[in-house]
Structures are given as structure tokens and as C-alpha cells.
Symmetry: C2
Subunit: 383 residues, 2 copies
């Protein structure tokens, strides 16, 4: 995959997750992504989790394969350096707000066909982050144990992840148009809109508009049959999305006849996912004993060769990183030798690469634009 986006250059002024992920995704596909930070780094420089050295594992995770330039954002001369970098690259990705000199108007005055993507919190430009957007979009009140009263916030910052990937899509789409028709683009991407659009795309908003209130159903699958089951040495998630999956599940667990009898008693048609969902608790009760008296290894052996979808619940420390073709050993400055992911888009050539050290490429990038980093450093404009 290396080199697929060869020749594409992006200047990124970013922090935290969404914008850095957007840029990193393009870097992992071969684009030259220059993350420009203020002297000393942006607000995410020491974001947890941290390595023993204090290096942020979030920062190194989110900036793999980029070049790093640091400039004094407070000095007019430093801003001029960023403006020149942006004008040269022609594409700017940022989640910085309140900095007019980084906005579309200021930068497109220097580069008329600029592509500028601004990630913001809300459509009115006000601030919001993944964890606040998540609260107000609806999911925390339908997630978690049935008997739990309060909201369950997510730990995975799913909106930031989706937002970063939307940003990558938006930049590639705009660049395609510019390559054909010459025009630049001003794109705004509110994190709140990413969440609202996703809730709409998945049917949650249409359902609510039709007057249905989504219930909190714990680890059951909505609208089909799926649930977690305890096994002798752990816990597994089991999903039957289709009738074939469900039939296989009933047969391998030996409850096919009992389930058929239950269907007759309840006048339910278990070949339809709606009935499998409505009677999920009865069905789960029939299945649970089979899982309870088996180990993970027993379950794996029994379900192999069937269509049943299942997986054990695991801790992060239990994942098989050595066995994954996605994960490569890298030497990450500030962290050491660790396995890190490449991009999941696999063309047979993907390789994980480390994140840079902060400011590692300041001299080289400035030199490529004919600027003298040493001279700027003497005046405190770069570090």
C-alpha cells in the first residue's frame, strides 16, 4: 500500500484523535503528511496513556508515518512559516479553532485552490469532544446492563475515529475534484454531525421519529439473536444474524428439538429474526447450559465448521499481536520496541512505521521550501 497516495502532501495542525487520525490514515497510504505543532507540542503532547519515559502512547499511536515540524505559533514570523507550508502543500487539515491565520479565508488568499478541512465540535463552531458528543447523541442510555439506571459512556472514542476517517475521505474527494476541475474546497466537519449522521444512518433516528423507544437490552443483539454466555473458563459472545446461523447454533448445542417445541408453544416462527429477538430470553436460557459446562477450547472445537458467529471476550493484554499480520515490531522513539499496527487496508504491502519525534523534520521541511532553519532558530521562531 506504500506509495498509493504518492505525491499528495498535507499540512496538519491538530491535536488529540480525530484530526491526527485523518492525517495518519493518508500518511499510511503514502501521502506526505506534515504535522505542524507549536513549540513544545500541542495539547495532546502528554495525553495518556504514557510510556514510562512520559512519552504519550496516544500521540505516538496517532502520528505514525508523519513528518513533524515545530514552529512558534505566537510570532508573526512563525505563522508565516506555517502559511508558506500550507500554500506549498495545498491541503490543510486542522481541528484548531480561534486561529484566523489558519482558517480557509486567510490561507486561500495565498493559495486560491486550497483544500481546507476544519474539524469542529458543533455545527455552530462551538467546542465539543467525543465524550460530550457521545452523551448527547443517545447511545449511553441504551448501552450496558439492563438493571443499570444511569448512562454508560463508551471507552472507545468512536466518534473521533469516525470523524478522522470522514476527514480522510473528504480530503481525497476534494483532491480528486481539484485534479479534474482545478477548484479548491472549504470543508467543515463537526464532530456532533458525525455522531448524528451515524445514528441516522444506522436507523436509530428514524426509529425514534416513528415513536419507538430503543430499550436497554444489555449484551443482547437488537432485532436478532445474539448474547454473551458464560463458559467454564471465560465468556463468549454468540451471534446468529441469519436463519442458517441460528439453525446451526441450535443443532450444535443439541437444542433444535426443544427450540422447535418452544416455537410451537409460543406460536413463534424462529426462522424469522424478529421472533428470535422477541423470545431471546427463553432461547438464551435453553442455550446457556451447553456453554456453561464447556471450556473455551470445547466451544471452539464444537463451533468450528458451523456458520455460528462467536468470539471469546478478551483483555487487551490477551490479544495475539505476534500472530497478527497487521502488527509489526517498530522502534518507537520514547517508547522502545513495540508492536504497532499498519493500516487495515491490505494490499499485501502494508508495514507499520513509527511516529516521529516532535520537531524531527523541522530543518528538512523548511529547507525544502528554501528557508534556513538555523537562522529562524536563532530568533526563536523554530526550536
Amino acid at each position: 500500500m506504500l506509495g498509493m497516495l504518492e505525491g499528495l502532501r498535507i499540512v496538519e495542525v491538530s491535536s488529540f484523535v480525530a484530526a491526527p487520525l485523518g492525517g495518519m490514515t493518508l500518511a499510511q497510504l503514502g501521502a506526505d503528511v506534515i504535522r505542524v505543532d507549536p513549540l513544545g507540542g500541542a495539547a495532546d503532547t502528554s495525553r495518556w496513556p504514557l510510556a514510562p519515559s512520559g512519552t504519550s502512547l496516544l500521540w505516538t499511536g496517532m502520528n505514525k508515518g508523519k513528518r513533524s515540524v515545530t514552529v512558534d505559533f505566537r510570532s508573526p514570523e512563525g505563522r508565516e512559516v506555517v502559511t508558506r507550508l500550507a500554500a506549498d502543500a495545498g491541503i490543510v487539515l486542522t481541528n484548531a479553532v480561534g486561529r484566523g491565520w489558519l482558517g480557509y479565508e486567510a490561507l486561500s488568499a495565498v493559495r486560491p485552490d486550497l483544500i481546507h478541512l476544519q474539524i469542529e465540535g458543533r455545527p455552530d463552531g462551538s467546542a465539543a469532544v467525543d465524550y460530550t458528543v457521545n452523551a448527547e447523541i443517545g447511545f449511553p442510555l441504551v448501552t450496558g446492563p439492563v438493571d443499570h439506571a444511569g448512562p454508560v459512556s463508551h471507552v472507545l472514542p468512536a466518534w473521533d475515529v469516525a470523524c478522522g476517517l470522514y476527514a480522510a475521505v473528504g480530503l481525497l474527494a476534494a483532491e480528486r475534484r481539484r485534479a479534474r476541475r482545478g477548484e479548491g474546497a472549504q470543508i467543515k466537519l463537526p464532530l456532533y454531525d458525525v455522531a448524528l449522521a451515524t445514528a441516522g444512518n444506522l436507523g436509530f433516528l428514524a426509529e425514534a421519529q416513528l415513536g419507538e423507544e430503543r430499550p436497554r437490552i444489555g449484551n443482547y443483539l437488537y432485532g436478532g439473536f445474539g448474547r454473551d454466555f458464560a463458559v467454564g473458563d471465560g465468556r463468549v459472545m454468540v451471534v446468529a444474524l441469519t436463519t442458517r446461523h441460528f439453525t446451526d447454533l441450535c443443532e450444535v448445542t443439541g437444542v433444535a428439538e426443544t427450540v422447535a417445541e418452544l416455537g410451537r408453544m409460543l406460536r413463534a416462527d424462529f426462522s424469522v429474526d424478529g421472533d428470535r429477538y422477541r423470545h431471546r430470553e427463553a432461547l438464551a436460557a435453553l442455550l446457556a447450559p451447553w456453554f456453561e459446562c464447556r471450556t473455551l477450547a470445547d466451544v471452539e472445537k464444537a463451533l468450528a465448521g458451523t456458520s455460528v458467529l462467536w468470539a471469546p471476550y478478551k483483555r487487551f493484554s490477551e490479544l495475539d499481536l505476534e500472530g497478527s499480520p497487521l502488527m509489526n515490531e517498530i522502534d518507537q522513539p520514547g517508547v522502545g520496541r513495540v508492536r504497532a499496527p499498519a493500516i487495515p487496508l491490505n494490499t499485501g504491502e502494508r508495514t507499520a512505521v513509527p511516529a516521529p519525534e516532535l520537531g524531527e523534520h523541522t530543518d528538512a521541511v523548511l529547507a525544502s521550501l528554501g528557508m534556513d532553519a538555523d537562522e529562524l532558530r536563532a530568533r526563536g521562531v523554530v526550536a
Copy 2:
């Protein structure tokens, strides 16, 4: 944004969430995305949630702006129709497995510069879905109430969403290279790898490799200060990512002096996010009374003009869809008049459009390739 991807055509053979979202994202940017389904529809045709008519709100949500063609996948003649559509479009997006005639090898024999993106469950090609991948990637065991023993699965299929957006990125990147260098691409995108890469990008896997076990901390923000608080008429999520956020929060709630005193007693430096995180329970206890004796309106008024990040927890039915520039009223066949989202990438021109009816464009699409749908229909090849 309409028309940004004008001239791009994609044939999508898909089901459920990831692949349909990938295609829809490109359709929402102006690509001509032709979703080809078997006669009667794919496995997601009646996926919940459902409208009273039985129309799937997931299906209509995931296929907005596409054209729909239905063909008999079991007949050689039907497969030939799909092959011709794929060869004409030059780009295929699919999550169908076990269908060799839809694979890269078969289709690139007809269209050598084909771009083919195959979404699969695991890197070895075996099946997996969002809910099973989620179980085995680590998040459910660190999500949810601190005193809850079991896993908490997510309700938002975040891996499917990320996977669909990665697919859109991959197709645009490959098409950019083809436009410049002429070569096609075979891309595989395992859902499991999407989840593993994301866990890695966010630092969870590096943290685990360094021997740290991520704790379950309920609705607290990891590595900073953030938590949910009860207010008189609801519940809010409050986040202080930076020292400025935290200082504002302490000042507006009148606990600045008490917090300073607490810092002295604990020898903690609350200008550092690590110490705000370590002492989160003590800090939250100081803040909780301020929230408890206020209404949502009080909180909104008090926090306006500060940098504090916050939002009320809401149900899907409580979202302000009328006030959102993202949501447009559409007439959705099978559903009626509802508000649906446009794409969150905003260039000032975004508009939501409905999903097609199943097979709505069979005749028009076949005619554009010089095929006679009536004649094929008479033989049962199309419906």
C-alpha cells in the same frame, strides 16, 4: 458537496453495515453507486429496526443515494450481468464471501485495471461481525460501571462504521493511483484488523505491551478529569481536557480554593492532567453538590462563556432534529416523511436523499449497458 465525486462509478454487492456505509459515503459525495442485490434482496433486507410497513430502517439508512439493481445470483446469466456491471464500473466493493465469481481474480480477468475491495471478518478470511470482533478486542471488559463484573458490549457498531469509512478511503486512494499510473488494486479489509488497528492507534495495545492493565473506571475520562454528574432534572457529562478547562470548571463551580487546598494536602499538582486523573474521585466529590442543586438550564447558563466541555445525556427521541442543518426531510419509500442525515462533510451544499426501492434502477442500469431488462425478466434473470 453533491458532485464532488462526479464520474466515479462503483458496483457494490453488500449487506448489513460496513460495506453499505462505504458505498453510501461515496454516493453522498456524488459517486454513482450501484448496489446489486440478489432477487428478493440480501440478508439485510429486513434487518431491524423496522418501519410499520416492515421496511428496514437500517437498509434505508445505509443505502441513501444509491441506485438499486436486483439480479438472480444463482443463474450463470445473472452472474454475467453482475460481471458486466463490475467491468463497466471498474470498481467493486463487497463483503460477500464464498462467491468466486465476485472475487478479484474472476473480475480482473474481464477488467484488468479493476479496483476490488473485499471486506472480510478476519485476516484469514473467516467470518466475524462487529459484535463478535468487539468482544475479542478488549473494550467490553473496561467499559461500564466499576462494580459490574461482566463485559459491556457496545450498542453502536463502531467497528462496522470505521470499517465502512476505511473502505471509502481505500477506494478513493486506489482510484487516485489508477488515474495517475493506470494500475488497479486488490484490497482486503478485515473487520478484525480495523478494530485491532484502532486499539493500537489509540495506545491501548502499546499500554498493554508495556505491562499496564487498563482499569474499568465507569464514566470517568481516562488520564484526565471528566465524569458524569447528576443534576436536578437529568445528568450531564463534564470534561476538562486541559488545565484551562479545569481551572474554569473549578472557578465557575466555586471550588477553586477548596481544590487548591486539596492539592496542597495531597501534594498533587492539578495543573497536570495525570494528577487530575489520579485524584478524580476526590475532585468529583467536591464538584457533585454544585451540579446536584442545579437544573440543566442553570448548568447551561453558568457554563456558557467558559471553556468547560459538557453536554446533557439525551435519548434518541430527545435530539433536536429540526434544528440540525445536517438533517433534511425526505420521502423515504416504505417509511414515509422523515428527517434523514446528509453526509457530515459540509461544503455548504449537502442534502439528504432517500434510499432507492429494492431493484428500482434495474431497467435503467441494464439499458445503459445495452441489455434488455424485459427480455432478461422473461427468463427470470432479473425481477
